[in-house]
């Protein structure tokens, strides 16, 4: 019976994930072990009593931070699908959601460090404080001149002995000023075609030559930063992956980001749609039949996406995140916008009021989402951040449906000769 379940799940994963499928199915024995370890952690370190860092440290030491990682690096070497078993117990006992506390750390840095760091010592050095959230991480990818065309980025890394000297400007960096480490993509070979001249580094955000400035956005807040890097130095041992292989390393990271952004809550009616439904319920005097139909369309789309995520989760009990995560990101982003547009149309003249444009400090703790009008404004970023909807549709078309790529004017050209502006 156990083996037939394994075959079923393996087949299903192949169907959904396709080429991204890797072996490593869960077994009942592994499930039992994860369950036992998680109960042991919460018994010894009550998350309601001990500090968050201590609790998360205990999780790491027990191999429950990311169960599919190797033993000794916060994992148990079991199926990734069992993470939900561990999280259910740990968070059920009042433990924090670590992805919320250290989003780039858990969502992007951990899998990249695990896969690409040059030594086991470095992995151990970086991963435990990441897991405990003592070290917050940020991502230094986008630049003013390189958004969707990320591979065109200009920040330079020049080798000087056993160190790299970094110069350039990064943008849209959340948590930069709180971060200990940054995942940096920089150009090590301007003579190579753009994808081939990049390398991937871990930058010390507290070192000399790194300056963060809050970047104010249309809501009035500053969730993100600009990071100016001037002659900052990175030891070569903090390079992840081979010199010139930065693009490939970054792609594994981006896939993790997209699947993290694309994953949504599993309870019916939860998430952004709850804002619209609650507003609808609270304001019966504003109801019209046309608005009711619009809301039911939005609710149905949210529900269809929720069921799609659930279907993908049920099938993908193992394996790496693949391009199917792009559906969730794209649908969720566009749905958020339509949901808040609906809220604005429901509110009418009330909707055009605001709470305050007094400058909000970057990354205050507390409620970042604010009143519905702020959420409406914030939702404009959803179809841009983490991959624009246009890029998402290209990914769906090319990687999922197998359509040919678009013509590229810069194909094969040395990066330094590509027109920019």
């Amino acid at each position: 019976m156990q083996s037939s379940a394994r075959v079923r799940a393996a087949e299903a994963v192949k169907r959904v994930v396709g080429n991204g499928y890797r072996d490593g199915m869960s077994s009942a024995g592994d499930t039992g072990r994860v369950t036992e370890l998680a109960h042991a952690v919460v018994a010894e370190y009550d998350p309601k009593q001990v500090p968050v860092t201590e609790f998360l440290g205990a999780c790491y030491d027990a191999g429950l931070s990311w169960v599919h990682f190797p033993v000794g690096l916060g994992g148990l070497g079991v199926s990734r699908g069992l993470q939900s078993v561990a999280d259910g117990i740990l968070q059920g006992a009042g433990g924090p959601v670590p992805l919320g506390l250290n989003p780039m750390g858990y969502g992007m840095a951990a899998p990249t460090v695990r896969e690409h760091a040059q030594s086991e010592d470095l992995k151990r050095f970086l991963l435990r404080p990441l897991a405990t959230t003592e070290d917050i991480w940020c991502q230094l990818f986008s630049e003013p001149g390189a958004g969707s065309d990320l591979a065109g980025l200009a920040t330079s890394a020049v080798l000087d002995g056993d160190e790299w000297i970094i110069n350039g400007q990064k943008v849209w960096t959340s948590l930069a000023h709180k971060s200990r480490w940054g995942l940096l993509l920089a150009r090590t070979d301007p003579d190579a075609p753009k994808h081939k001249g990049l390398s991937y580094f871990v930058l010390d955000m507290r070192g000399p030559g790194v300056q963060c400035r809050p970047l104010r956005q249309m809501t009035g807040q500053a969730e993100f930063n600009e990071v100016y890097i001037t002659d900052a130095r990175i030891p070569d041992v903090h390079r992840l992956g081979a010199v010139g292989d930065g693009w490939r390393v970054a792609m594994t990271t981006l896939m993790n980001e997209r699947s993290a952004l694309g994953a949504s809550g599993s309870r019916r009616g939860s998430g952004t749609i709850a804002d619209a439904v609650q507003l609808w319920a609270a304001r019966p005097e504003l109801h019209t039949p046309v608005l009711r139909d619009r809301l039911s369309q939005l609710w149905l789309r949210a529900e269809a996406q929720r069921l799609t995520s659930e279907r993908s989760r049920m099938a993908a009990t193992s394996g790496d995140p693949g391009p199917e995560g792009s559906i969730g990101k794209m649908v969720g982003a566009e749905l958020n916008q339509r949901i808040y547009e609906f809220c604005m149309d429901l509110l009418g003249p009330e909707g055009i009021l605001y709470h305050s444009y007094a400058m909000h400090g970057a990354n205050d703790d507390g409620d970042w989402r604010g009143p519905v009008q702020q959420r409406y404004l914030r939702s404009r970023a959803n179809t841009i951040e983490g991959g624009t909807s246009e890029v998402m549709r290209n990914i769906l078309g090319e990687r999922v449906l197998g359509l040919p790529g678009d013509l590229r004017a810069d194909a094969g050209m040395p990066w330094k000769e590509i027109p920019r502006g």
Partner: protein, 386 residues
């Protein structure tokens, strides 16, 4: 309830079933067979139908073996129906498989019911389901047939599959409420109608003192009919998914092979993004259809809500994908010789049957929005005062 396995995951037997039905459909259905039937004026191929029931046993998969079915679950039936949809399978699937068999399976055992269910399951006979629905739900006020001493009279209106059917199931009002009856089609006046989708024919059905057999009395009829309509809605949704997948595959292949401006047209973002949107619509439709099937099979969700979510989503998705298929194909997609119009017409037909997307959306609003109570955790509205 039957064992339905892991939600959303088809097991090895179901994958084998899918392969077998797909192979059968490739030989017996598809564009060529649909055109042959259309041109011959026949409504379906009785020989093929009988093989579906007897050789493959895929007409009554969720009916217990004791009643002549395959003893499986609605999930098994859905696997077969998805393949039927992809191949534009002909024959009275809608009347017999989606509605009459689920209705009979829910009827209390009895000689008329048992015998009819058995002969429908093995493909010896066919049926139409002539109960007028209100957006996929039973409405006793719409029953237009009266019963008097087991004889039925009245105008049953337009009935899908009534031309092919040997037996017609109807609701008829007696002195103590509506009952469910079976009438031999030969006892009814049937007027074949020209339908937009010739592969899903209809006839006007009028009864004049037609002898009928009682299948269920007033106490059970509403429940049985609603059950059949929900199962029918779920299976119709699955058919829509199968057909839509076929069209997406067709469109993607065309976008890769058609060259204009010296390039594959699929390399243009205008085409690529449309296809990506079609893919999203299809995956959403698939999720809601499978959800409805599993929910009806294992009781894990409100059946009325699950069926309406599926119908609202799948009708819209299939219609959109069929329209976009024509657009992606350009001129050739508008010709009679191309298969796109066959599916486009099926999409229009399926969207109108058992309730439109709009009607189901409205029911979802009834069930979800109108019952939501405001609570204090609602999102704040800025008032202009900091």
């Amino acid at each position: 309830m039957a064992d339905t396995g892991i939600r959303f995951v088809f097991d090895a037997e179901q994958r084998q079933l899918r392969a077998a039905v797909r192979k059968f459909c490739a030989e017996s259905f598809g564009e060529t067979a649909a055109r042959r039937l259309m041109e011959s004026g026949e409504t379906f191929d009785a020989g093929t139908w009988h093989r579906l029931g007897s050789e493959l046993g895929v007409l009554a998969m969720s009916v217990p073996e004791a009643d002549g079915g395959a003893g499986g679950s609605l999930v098994d039936q859905a696997v077969a129906v998805e393949e039927f949809g992809a191949a534009l399978a002909g024959g009275p699937l809608f009347g017999t498989v989606y509605l009459a068999i689920p209705a009979l399976a829910a009827c209390p055992p009895g000689r008329a019911r048992d015998e009819l269910l058995r002969t429908l399951a093995d493909g010896r006979r066919t049926a139409a389901f002539a109960v007028a629905d209100l957006a996929g739900a039973f409405d006793p006020d719409r029953v237009s047939i009266n019963v008097d001493q087991d004889r039925l009279s009245g105008d049953a209106g337009r009935v899908v599959d009534a031309t092919a059917a040997e037996v017609i199931l109807l609701a008829a009002s007696g002195s103590d409420g509506p009952g469910l009856y079976a009438v031999e089609a030969s006892e009814a006046d049937r007027t074949p109608l020209v339908t937009m989708d010739p592969t899903r024919p209809q006839a006007g059905v009028v009864l004049r003192d037609a002898p009928a057999r009682l299948l269920a009395g007033p106490g059970d009829t509403g429940r049985i009919i609603n059950h059949a309509l929900r199962v029918g809605s779920a299976l119709l949704a699955v058919e829509q998914v199968g057909a839509a997948q076929h069209l997406l595959d067709l469109s993607v292949e065309y976008a890769k092979s058609r060259l204009q401006f010296g390039r594959q047209i699929g390399s243009f973002q205008a085409i690529k993004h449309r296809l990506a949107d079609m893919f999203v619509e299809l995956e959403h439709a698939r999720s809601t259809a499978y959800h409805a099937v599993w929910a009806l099979a294992d009781g894990s969700d409100d059946p009325a809500l699950a069926a309406s979510i599926a119908q609202a989503t799948c009708s819209a998705a299939f219609s959109r994908i069929a329209a976009d298929t024509i657009q992606v194909h350009g001129g050739i997609g508008f010709t009679w010789e191309h298969q796109a119009h066959l599916y486009f017409k099926r999409a229009a037909t399926d969207a109108a049957l058992l309730g439109s997307a709009e009607q189901h959306r409205s029911r979802v609003a009834d069930l979800v929005l109108d019952n939501t109570l405001a609570h204090s955790g609602a999102v704040r509205v800025a008032t202009g005062h900091p």
